[in-house]
Amino acid sequence: MRISALRLQDFRNYTFQEVELGAGLHVFEGRNAQGKTALLEAVYLGATARSFRTSKEADLIRWGQPDGGLHLAMERDSGRPRQLTMRWQAQPLQRHILLQNQPVRRLADFLSELPLALFTPDDLELVQGGPEMRRGYLDLLLCKLYPAYLEALGRYQKVLRQKGALLRAQSSRAELESWDQLLVQFGSQLMQFRAEICRQLEPRLTSLYAEFSGETCILRLVYRPCVEHDFGETLRRAHQEEWRRRTCLVGPHRDEVQLSLGEALVRRFGSQGQRRTLALAMRLAQAEMLLEIGKERPVVLLDDCFSELDPGRQARLLRWLEGASQVLITTATPLDLSPEHRLYRVEEGRVRPC
């Protein structure tokens, strides 16, 4: 899949902008706060219905405007065109998504539409942040790959919120078992999916890391579920403790994914360079898996992180990117790219090709 044209209207700092895009590498150059990242954000929204910058959708509408939105003209690997429109209305805040001019009723229907990989400086948090970052990483991949996972995750989170409310209210202890039973039902599904995806991720990640770091240490990725055996039994045993502490202590919402090099946990002992390379490898692995299972070749977004890599890693990354259908890069400093690429200048909410 690639994007043939991107149109923004009253989106972020853009009044109206149309950008024609082709296959291969595109570089958007400009100073900070000119609207470079907003371009990537628009594409990311088109793939995930979420922003990687904000959870407040109202921020997407240009300041003071009643509504705003974006339009993506896409082209499948087969050459077949696809149209996606997203509009936000400010008051009351509403979002409308149209795929092929038809309203999208269920998110699952369109999440599999545009395969995408995003790299941002914040990716470092995948490695050095809390476990929730790595759970989010698995969730994103699994939601894109399996509609059943999306469904189970949504239901699990609903049950978890209900159970949390029950524990806080301390109202009816007899009810707790029913919620636990549902937690087991949906949580077990999540754990199965996560264990399986980790098995598939590890070899890929190990070889990507070795390739990008040039190190001989073996990278290990190990799924550490919060519950190792019998989920239901573990919950029963944690019952007293949960009731006393008024919070949900057991379940896949507390899973961890452990990353280690040799014997050392990267999160605690890795160098800055190792962490950065690992974060990159994680994103690359994610893109590869989407590519393999998802049939369509992905669009890759690199937000301001290309220049942070040393020349050797830049070159290796460029080589890897040749497999992508389309790559969009933003940068504040001019890049020295040898292969063919298109260059655009971004200034005060205007994009012009050079």
């Binding site: 209900q162 409310a165 209210a169 009816s172 007899a174 029913s178 039973q181």
Partner: protein, 203 residues
């Protein structure tokens, strides 16, 4: 321009109704003013008498204008089996099937700790009491397939215990539905709940 006070009160009270927004409320209010008086007042009279006369059935909590609702008062209905629903509306839907001849029990809500609804806020004690007193040996749970519905089913089945047969409605393909129009979650459930072809004889 502000509406005269009485008109504003009318618009606002119409707006409290479900699915009615400001525009519809305004339209309805003007219609009520402009139409012939008996026609308009018929509505207020209907609201008043419904509020006065309709009450929950003593046994099943369905709406009724007598002590016992039509279904509970009907000697033809099967005893010993009760179908549990959330609201009286659901009884109407089930009755349309003409396939069920037993009694009902209206819970009035689903368990939802987030909304402060526990077993004491819905009519679970009343159900358990009925099961004991009326010697009910089969309970059919016709609740939503939401998380709240599932939790309520699990809770009820535990409370009813093994001596009562507790079943819930099947989930799967809609009648006359096309396979390719069915969402993958429903289709997945239909797949898990598949049946042998020889068991499919019409009943």
């Amino acid at each position: 321009m502000d509406y005269p006070e009485a008109l504003e009160e009318l618009v606002e009270s119409l707006q409290q109704l479900p699915t009615i927004g400001p525009k519809s409320a305004q339209r309805l209010a003007f219609w009520l003013l402009e139409t012939a008086e008996p026609k308009a007042l018929r509505l207020s009279e209907a609201i008043r008498s419904a509020r006065n006369q309709i009450r929950p059935c003593r046994r099943c909590f369905n709406y009724s204008d007598r002590e016992l609702c039509q279904i509970c008062a009907d000697p033809q209905r099967k005893t010993g089996v009760v179908c549990v629903v959330v609201q009286p509306k659901d009884i109407v839907a089930l009755e349309k099937t003409r396939e069920y001849r037993g009694g009902y029990h209206v819970l009035g809500g689903l368990l939802s700790p987030l909304d402060g609804i526990g077993p004491d806020q819905v009519r679970i004690h009343e159900l358990l009491e009925r099961v004991r007193e009326e010697a009910i040996d089969e309970v059919i749970l016709a609740l939503d397939t939401t998380v709240g519905g599932e939790a309520t089913c699990l809770y009820l089945s535990r409370q009813l215990g093994p001596e009562t047969s507790v079943t819930r409605l099947a989930q799967g393909l809609p009648a006359g539905g096309n396979l390719d129009y069915t969402d993958e979650v429903t289709l997945g459930r239909a797949l898990r709940g598949r049946r042998r072809v020889e068991d499919l004889s019409p009943q």
